[in-house]
Symmetry: C2
Subunit: 164 residues, 2 copies
């Protein structure tokens, strides 16, 4: 099964595509879409949307995983991120891809085994689980791949549950 993971951010949005049988995962493609903070938000959203559509068209994922948004301390950052998330959900819905949403803690728990794992621990586990030679190109790419891996694990678990 081919899965798209998206890590939304108003300056950098990570996209990651993996193939998975629910147990073993392999990297297909990953990229961090960088936008210019000096550009108007509308223009940055259009760039992220275009890149996401292009990745979906090229790699044809069957499932998507997007991290849920929480406000934590910085509500303004969360609001900006929610704009990007809206656009990501739109692109995924338009492509007819079922979309799963996971909390940051659920993703870390699934990938690292600990819901409050640090960024570098997520990167290390993504590298290990996808058997990469080096770390993913950026934190955002690692987070996108982590979302995809979480979704793959979730699918694997569901399959086991229904076959048992």
């Amino acid at each position: 099964m081919r899965i798209l993971g998206v890590d939304c951010g108003s300056t950098r949005t990570g996209l990651g595509i993996i193939d998975s049988d629910g147990l073993r995962h392999s990297l297909v493609y990953t990229v961090a879409v960088q936008t210019n903070v000096k550009d108007p938000m509308a223009q940055r959203l259009a760039m992220i949307y275009k890149e996401l559509l292009s990745v979906i068209e090229e790699y044809q994922p069957e499932l998507a995983a997007v991290e849920e948004v929480f406000h934590h301390a910085n509500v303004q950052s969360a609001l900006k991120l929610a704009h990007v998330r809206g656009v990501a959900l739109l692109a995924i819905a338009q492509a007819g891809i079922p979309c799963n949403e996971y909390s940051p803690n659920a993703i870390k728990l699934s990938v690292v085994g600990y819901g409050k794992a640090q960024k570098h621990q997520v990167q290390l586990m993504v590298k290990t689980l996808l058997r990469l030679d080096g770390a993913p190109p950026s934190e955002d790419a690692a987070d996108a791949l982590a979302a995809a891996i979480c979704c793959a694990n979730h699918q694997g678990f569901q399959r086991k549950l229904h076959s048992s």
Copy 2:
């Protein structure tokens, strides 16, 4: 000048189109896009985006006005609204329409003359300024038209400033 106003909401999004010479405004079209809260957010975003694109294509506005998002007391509602706002900004950017963003207070100040005006006061002033026979069809439609009127007043003011 033809102006599109958008009032974003996760359940109802108001769209309003007016014609204005900067002093007098007239109603062209208004609608409140209603989505089902039981549907997944992605599906609701796709519906709002489609409706917005269709209105833009039919009425060809030259300018757009979208209310800024603030979190106030309910951050979760603001985050949902920001998803819709992201999709609205995307549709406007894709159509190549310059987009102005105004705070709720700036819109009320421009339309009612008082930044903390109540909903019914905004509706009444929108009805008066657009010389409508009755109130706008909904609060969301009134708020969208108010954003468009604020933008028209702003443009009128800018024009006076540059010609003086």
